[in-house]
């Protein structure tokens, strides 16, 4: 068994956890972060992509709205390259024309301090020509689109640079609790290194849970009850940027009332369904239908466009008393001091909130950590940019520009998302990689219209050359040719780097997120992918069929559309 000793142990590698590790490391603490899968595996990698201006909450949840606009301004500096400055519209569609909400909305924005300007319908239509021409009013707010994958990686990189140790594929299986009744203390955690199967003990002066919707499960390991109300939301990505501005309906937040343009797609979302298990992410046909029907209200015709993918995330909603409807639970965050609350020292839980507020949440958590550890060190994250900000805000043509400028056309691994071989190799070198899905989160591999049709094979070929481009074949007693191979140092994990396993896992991973939305042209596309992998490659008859990775079972969840059902409470 391996032992690690640290001052602060952070559990969870989403936005919040990496934010805490970054903040704490900047304040000079020794930090270890453990995440059971890859960074952003949780809700952070399954969210909607909105950098909130706060515009969704000023009427119902002004505190939350205030936090959003403060952080919106800060993140635009610290994480500039992860953010596209799309701006956002709140539009009054014919369905909502009779409501007094728009005026209340405008007043509340002014009150909270969210810059909000009413613009003419004509101007809105000029900027967003596909917008429903029958809208009545339009308000503009400083919404943005945010790439949570990139942002979390950049934050983790900054944390590492400041000395934090970030361990992915390390799952907390138990907390180490010392002392007796009323005088208990968490002194660390028992962790499973998922890749090697090795047990690891991390001893820490303070343990902070940032496990989002899983916070209850972690707290239970120390005998504390934290009642999470996981609210599942489904989203679907349209193949085109049907809009370049975030489009919200100007009404009380509800299902399917927002479209976020992010990278090459536009994402409609979301639903909000209470689920018991944060891992239950099943998307039902009615949810897909609802997204499309609601999307029509803002962009008529959107339901006829091609859908490339569907996914679902679970809101880490927390309330000390049980809420009837998950949308009524505050979107603000909560820090639980288990010493005060449950008599268990050395243990904090930070949960709730939003991606947009992760930095603020981290700052609050580490402030309390300082108190607990008896030191006074102030937060530095608001004024410390993470690596990459010098690129400025993200813009859509960014990758294309680079490919054209550097004449990298011949190097493309993924034409849909303009991923080059160098980007892929770099990601595989820098981040622990168990599956191609990990690289997908790093470089958007397989996220375009063909959903891995062309790039899966290419990525596998490249990783194989990286991992095994050496003297692996001595069949006729002869070593490889001098000019062969690309052998590059990598962060791949044998035996999971077996190319046939990587290939099968990723094909299944992409399939899983497709079946809920597979029809029309995307179905045709998927059939082409079958032609490539079955007819042409015969990958279902490659050696190594018995191999599996720690993720293989996860990719095998049945996501095929079930019988038509109704929303449970809609």
């Amino acid at each position: 068994m391996k032992r690690l000793k640290t001052e602060i142990l952070v559990i969870g590698g989403g936005a919040t956890g990496t934010g805490i590790a970054w903040d704490a490391a900047l304040r000079g603490f020794r930090v270890v972060l453990v995440e059971k899968r890859d960074l952003t595996h949780g809700t952070t990698g399954r969210y909607h992509g909105l950098l909130h201006s706060g515009g969704r909450y000023p009427v119902k949840d002004p505190d939350s709205a205030r936090e959003c606009i403060i952080e919106n301004r800060i993140l635009r500096r610290t994480h500039a390259h992860c953010i596209e400055d799309t701006s956002g519209f709140f539009v009054v569609t014919p369905e909502d024309a009779d409501s007094d909400y728009p005026d209340r909305f405008k007043a509340a924005c002014d009150e909270v301090g969210i810059p909000c300007r009413e613009i003419s319908v004509a101007e809105a239509l000029r900027r967003e020509p596909l917008l429903n021409p029958r809208i009545n009013r339009v308000f503009e707010v400083p919404d943005g689109a945010a790439d949570s994958f990139l942002a979390t990686h950049a934050t983790a990189q900054a944390a590492r640079a400041a000395g934090a140790q970030v361990l992915t594929y390390h799952e907390v299986v138990d907390l180490i609790v010392q002392g007796g009744e009323g005088d208990q203390q968490v002194v660390g955690a028992k962790v499973l290194d998922v890749a090697s199967g090795e047990d690891v003990e991390v001893h820490a002066d303070l343990t902070i849970t940032a496990a989002g919707a899983w916070a209850g499960q972690i707290a239970a390991m120390a005998g504390c009850e934290v009642k999470m109300t996981p609210g599942k939301g489904a989203m679907i990505a349209m193949n085109h940027r049907v809009c370049n501005t975030v489009l919200n309906r100007c009404k009380m937040p509800g299902d399917g009332d927002i479209i976020v343009p992010i990278h090459t797609v536009a994402v409609i979302g979301t639903t909000d369904e209470h689920v018991d298990d944060p891992e239950n992410l099943r998307i039902e046909p009615w949810e897909v239908q609802l997204m499309l029907d609601e999307g029509e209200k803002m962009i008529p015709g959107i339901s006829q466009a091609r859908v490339v993918r569907a996914w679902a995330g679970v809101r880490p909603l927390y309330q000390e008393t049980e809420a009837a409807d998950t949308r009524d639970v505050t979107r603000s965050f909560t820090l639980l001091d288990h010493q005060e609350r449950d008599g268990v020292a050395g243990f904090l839980t930070m949960t709730g909130g939003k991606w947009t507020t992760f930095r603020m949440m981290a700052a609050k958590a580490v402030d309390v950590a300082c108190e607990k550890l008896g030191v006074q060190r102030s937060c530095k994250t608001a004024s410390t940019p993470v690596p990459g900000v010098d690129q400025g805000h993200y813009w859509l043509g960014h990758r294309l520009h680079e490919v054209e400028e550097k004449r990298l056309q011949g190097e493309l691994v993924c034409e849909c998302e303009l991923v080059t071989r160098a980007m892929l190799e770099n990601a595989a070198r820098q981040n622990p990689t168990l599956t191609l899905d990990d690289l997908r989160r790093d470089v958007r591999l397989g996220m375009g219209p063909c959903q891995g049709g062309f790039c899966t094979y290419r990525a596998v070929g490249i990783l194989h050359e990286m991992a095994e481009g050496g003297d692996w074949r001595l069949e006729n007693g002869e070593r490889r040719m001098e000019n062969g191979g690309w052998r590059v140092e990598s962060n791949l994990h044998p035996p999971f780097s077996n190319p046939n396993l990587l290939l099968r896992d990723f094909l299944q991973e992409r399939w899983k997120g497709l079946t809920p939305i597979l029809w029309g042209r995307q179905l045709k596309q998927e059939r082409l992918d079958e032609l490539i992998y079955l007819s042409l490659m015969n990958v279902d008859h490659l050696p190594g069929a018995e191999l599996s990775s720690p993720l293989s079972d996860f990719y095998l969840f049945d996501t095929t559309p079930g019988e038509e059902t109704e929303a449970s409470d809609a």
Binding site: G410, G461, H464, E468, W486, L523, K524, P561
Partner: protein, 464 residues
């Protein structure tokens, strides 16, 4: 007037057009795109695996097809029987000889060949073009798989590693891509054209000669020339003094494009026009007009267009009169005595579907066997050996290859169907894509020729 209008320019449409034209019919082919030939390996797969079994490849497809037919009496092959199947494939092999793209099967006649796939798995196929045949895995010669640095669509080490794992003797090597091209941005088709240049070819040959060991055969990505590929192959083998073969690549597929082009050229010689970029958007039958897309006025236009032969309409209320295609400039009407639907299934674009679970045939809205519920379309595993039910559905035809209604009666007397649009097969899972395309289209074309509907049949009263 045309005797036969073929809709679809994939392998099925082109083969049908050839068969009918050879029999003396006046034929034209119109298509929206090029069909799936451009994406496939360029081989003729007849039956690689029994449906539902991922295990061993089928050894003798023509004989083993009986087992398939017994298990699945509605499979398209069941409409043919072994003799007809075998004759159609022989006819196709003869045709490939005529077009200087000779295809042949295993040395042991009737057996499937096993050829290395671009992932290094053995692909079972029945007929392969000359350029791929030296890859035959039943021969013991060791493999040298050569890739090019900078060509991202071909991974020699992956191929060699998997072949080794499976017990074949193989190694890999790389050569620089600038041996072949100076371009930054290229695809396999451009590379193939470059190798038609003698100088580039000799440079490649010199490097290969340096790499190869006695007794080895050399596997290269399928880029050995486009139109002139036989000369390219012969020249390389002569210069290297070793046998050289092609392994198909990711699309665009050079072997597939060669086949498509050669078939089109042959059809041209026979006086058959192949017109791509013509999507059929409406049709007129004796009893019904229909148009997809377009404004109501356009639909009106179709309905009101003069009917060429009003008398025949009265005699044959259930026959098709014309289809209308949409080109960039204007809709065009195509009159013919017979129509053959060879638009493929979901992949070819012959079927479309939507989120309500509806799947429809895009031109005539023919009845389909496809489940009309999304909950019945898929299996949870992408690589499930049984395939996905949505792809098995299609157009049900009678023994004459006429699409039929639920009661078994033909939908239109002069409409026929062949290839990927036929029901009760999953050609990709079975590895029967080209086999079904070729054999059903030959059979359908023969039915049309024999039906009396062609060549004045309409006027002569020989209608059934």
């Amino acid at each position: 007037m045309l005797d036969l209008l073929v809709i679809g320019a994939g392998l099925a449409g082109l083969t049908a057009a050839y068969t009918a034209a050879k029999a003396g019919l006046r034929v034209c082919v119109i298509a929206k795109g090029m069909g799936t030939t451009h994406w496939s390996a360029g081989t003729v797969d007849v039956l690689g695996y029994y449906p539902n079994s991922s295990a061993e490849p089928v050894q003798r497809p023509l004989e083993n097809v009986q087992t398939l037919i017994e298990a699945q009496p509605e499979h398209p092959y069941a409409l043919l029987g072994t003799a007809q199947l075998s004759d159609a494939l022989k006819a196709f092999a003869v045709l490939t000889g005529e077009i200087s793209l000779p295809y042949a099967g295993a040395a042991n006649g009737g057996e499937n060949l096993l050829l290395p796939s671009p992932a290094g798995a053995p692909r079972p196929t029945f007929l392969a073009p000359l350029t791929q045949r030296a890859g035959d895995l039943s021969h013991p010669d060791p493999f040298l798989i050569v890739g090019f640095r900078g060509l991202g669509d071909f991974f020699p080490e992956l191929i060699a590693a998997n072949l080794c794992e499976l017990g074949y003797d193989a190694r890999a090597a790389f050569l620089p891509i600038d041996l072949i091209t100076d371009r930054q941005d290229f695809n396999t088709v451009q590379l193939a054209t470059e190798l038609e240049n003698r100088g580039r070819r000799s440079r490649l040959a010199a490097e290969l000669k340096r790499l190869v060991q006695p007794g080895e055969r050399i596997g290269l990505p399928a880029i050995l020339g486009l139109d002139d590929h036989l000369a390219v192959l012969a020249d390389l083998q002569a210069q290297v003094s070793a046998s050289v073969f092609e392994i198909p690549t990711l699309p665009p597929s050079v072997p597939g494009i060669r086949l498509h082009k050669a078939l089109c050229r042959r059809l041209e010689e026979l006086g058959v026009r192949v017109e791509a970029g013509m999507e059929v958007v409406g049709f007129r039958s004796g009893g019904q007009a229909r148009a997809r897309f377009g404004s109501p006025q356009q639909v009106e236009g179709f309905v009101q267009s003069p009917i060429p032969n009003p008398k025949s309409e009265i005699r044959n209320p259930k026959s098709l009169l014309w289809v209308a295609s949409e080109t960039t400039a204007r809709p065009l009407k195509h009159h013919a005595a017979n129509f053959l639907l060879a638009t493929g299934g979901i992949l070819g674009g012959g079927f479309d579907s939507d989120y309500t679970g509806r799947v429809w045939e895009t031109i005539f809205d023919l009845p389909l066997t496809t489940p009309q519920k999304r909950s019945e379309w898929f299996r949870p595993k992408f690589l499930d050996p049984a395939g996905h039910p949505v792809y098995r559905g299609g157009v049900r035809v009678n023994k004459q290859f006429q699409p039929v209604k639920a009661d078994g009666a033909p939908v239109y007397e002069n409409l026929w169907a062949a290839g990927g649009c036929l029901a009760q097969a999953d050609p990709i899972h079975e590895r029967s894509l080209e086999g079904i395309a070729i054999t059903t289209s030959v059979a359908a074309a023969q039915q049309i020729v024999g039906s009396g509907w062609a060549r004045g049949g309409r006027g002569s009263g020989s209608l059934r």
